[in-house]
């Protein structure tokens, strides 16, 4: 971490953040049931770090990402970005915030608009935020496609999502997220569809981007080996509660919580 006397505020600060979903009554059951997707989460991310969030399916990882993107609001708790509360951002401030914070969604089959070509998909954020002109935008799109190894970019420009393989779609989603050079990216299982050679290249890419732009990442994953490779610190989440946080190597080599131990046990073994 960079030493600095002025002690800048952490880029992200969550205190006591809780998210409860109220599921609608069904035809047969009256009343509501509540799902506690996140329970009293407190977390601090320093600028420039890659922070890992690991945990089982349904433990609340994506929910945290959606809250940080302000796609949803917490039921309770305070969220801060660069020292300022973001709970009540509206209008222009919200728009500015959203251009600085991006999310790579878990499932590219759902997150890409099937009616937009690859070029349009990646152009859209540039147009919405009025960045550059026609020419510079086109250049930026091709450059970004190259960055995520959809090369030559020109070949993918006019294709539609259904004309791409699953992994190629995911790379388009990544391209879309980085095209605005955001300060903070939530990457929700960005490599679960990619093979080892490409996943590791992508990790290297994230590391380069982090170094070059001092970008901060929240990296959501089931894959502890990926977290170990990429993250400075990790938090283990179980049923909406953070059960363990610490430097990645410490958590993986000396896990304290039983759930962390179980997770390490279940990692696929590949020994021949």
């Amino acid at each position: 971490m960079i030493e600095d006397n002025t002690q800048p505020a952490p880029i992200i600060e969550l205190s006591g953040v809780t998210k409860e979903y109220r599921t609608k009554a069904t035809f047969f059951s009256k009343g509501y049931t509540n799902v506690m997707a996140m329970d009293n989460i407190s977390l601090t991310l320093q600028r420039g770090e890659i922070f890992g969030l690991v945990g089982q399916s349904g433990s609340g990882k994506t929910t945290l990402g959606r809250l940080l993107l302000k796609l949803e609001s917490p039921t309770k708790g305070i969220m801060k970005f660069n020292g300022k509360p973001i709970n009540d951002l509206k209008g222009k401030d919200l728009k500015t915030y959203r251009s600085k914070v991006q999310m790579i969604f878990q499932d590219p089959y759902q997150s890409l608009n099937p009616h937009l070509s690859i070029a349009e998909t990646i152009l859209e954020p540039l147009i919405v935020n009025k960045i550059g002109d026609i020419h510079s935008r086109k250049e930026k799109v091709i450059e970004t496609l190259d960055t995520v190894s959809l090369a030559p970019g020109k070949e993918y420009y006019d294709r539609f999502p259904h004309q791409l393989s699953g992994g190629q779609r995911q790379r388009v989603a990544i391209a879309r997220a980085i095209v605005l050079d955001p300060e903070f990216i939530v990457a929700d299982e960005p490599t679960s569809m990619l093979d080892a050679t490409i996943a590791i290249q992508l990790f290297k890419l994230l590391q380069q981007i982090r170094k070059k732009y001092n970008m901060t990442f929240l990296f959501i994953t089931h894959n502890l080996a990926a977290a170990q490779f990429l993250c400075d610190r990790i938090a283990v989440i179980h049923d909406g509660v953070i059960v363990e946080t610490g430097p990645t190597d410490r958590v993986i080599q000396q896990p304290e919580h039983p759930y962390t131990k179980k997770l390490i046990q279940a990692q696929p073994k590949f020994n021949f």
């Binding site: 349904g58 190894s149 569809m193 050679t197 089931h222 279940a266 990692q267």
Partner: protein
């Protein structure tokens, strides 16, 4: 008994820039009750093979050569009507990202009943419902969840329901395309054990597609490694993973991250995936291969036998060179 024999299959997609050769001259066989895994990087053609076997290629696809013999018939001669009767019964497929394909407004049990009814309209409803219960037992979803809607299921439960649906008509072969990609490792492990159990109990053949070598190594007895639309190495699981010979297979294994991986794991230079529209004729992996020679750029590789069951698509001198370092 040989259940499936694919011979010299090539499949392309028509695009604005010309034909994209997604699957190129692929051959493999599968015995009844055995499991075959396809691994390879994103875009190498794995799903295309599955869709061809299901007769579900999109409009712009063309099968340019080959034959697919399944249980005595050549599937490529099937008419639409024959495909409809065959799907689900002969071969069924768990599609990539299928979890999202469950109809959100129909109860899970009704969706599975429908899958059975399509093929057996004469069986009484009560009988079908018994079958549905059996299937749920098999994939270990408790009966009191039968009447749920899909959104009430967790990711792992949805995937089990999808597998139950694929099993509904007792197919001879199941193709599972990345069935565990979206699941956490604990649930993934349960699903893989489930698939192995079903295969054993019903003597079903399995084609398992994944980019994750550990997952494929767990489930499959035989392995095909693909690169750029071609199979580049095939053999028994132990042969391919213990003594990989094709340079791409070695690369793939070397980049696999595990908890005991070295932080300084050697990462290859960014490989540009081969351009599948303008093919040059040389080896498709040549650009990323550290052993490439002039030969590799100008000549098409050939199959080299490494054992009666283990082959690599490369040049003999390259394979030997690579073995010594």
């Amino acid at each position: 008994m040989t259940l499936l024999q694919v011979e010299n299959l090539s499949v392309g997609y028509k695009t604005k820039k010309g034909i994209l050769h997604a699957v190129n001259d692929i051959s493999f066989t599968l015995e009844q009750g055995r499991s075959l895994g396809f691994v390879g990087e994103s875009g190498c053609g794995k799903t295309t093979i599955g869709m061809t076997l299901m007769g579900l290629l999109p409009e712009n696809a063309v099968i340019t050569q080959g034959a697919i013999h399944f249980n005595g018939s050549n599937l490529l001669h099937f008419k639409d009507e024959q495909w409809r009767n065959f799907r689900g019964k002969g071969i069924s497929m768990v599609f990539q990202a299928a979890m999202n394909a469950l109809n959100p407004v129909i109860r899970v049990d009704e969706q599975i009943m429908e899958a059975i009814e399509v093929h057996s309209p004469d069986i009484p409803k009560t009988e079908i419902y018994k079958q549905v219960k059996n299937l749920f037992n098999m994939v270990q979803i408790s009966e009191d969840r039968l009447r749920d809607y899909p959104h009430q299921y967790s990711g792992g439960m949805k995937q089990r329901a999808i597998i139950a649906m694929a099993l509904a008509c007792n197919p001879k072969l199941i193709i599972a395309d990345e069935p565990t990609t979206a699941l956490d490792v604990i649930v993934q492990d349960q699903i893989l054990q489930e698939i192995k159990k079903i295969k054993k109990a019903l003597n079903t053949s399995v084609i398992f597609i994944s980019h994750d070598i550990a997952v494929v190594a767990d489930v499959c007895e035989d392995i095909c490694v693909m690169y750029g639309g071609q199979i580049v190495e095939k053999g028994k699981r132990e042969e391919v993973f213990k003594s990989p010979r094709h340079p791409y297979t070695k690369t793939l294994l070397a980049s696999y991250l595990s908890l005991d991986s070295d932080k300084n794991i050697k990462v290859l230079e960014i490989q540009k995936p081969p351009d599948l529209i303008t093919l040059t004729g040389g080896c498709r992996f040549a650009d990323s291969c550290k052993h490439k020679s002039k030969n590799c750029e100008n000549h098409t590789p050939g199959w080299v036998d490494l054992s009666p069951t283990h082959q690599a698509f490369c040049f003999e001198d390259i394979l030997n060179k690579d073995n010594n370092d």
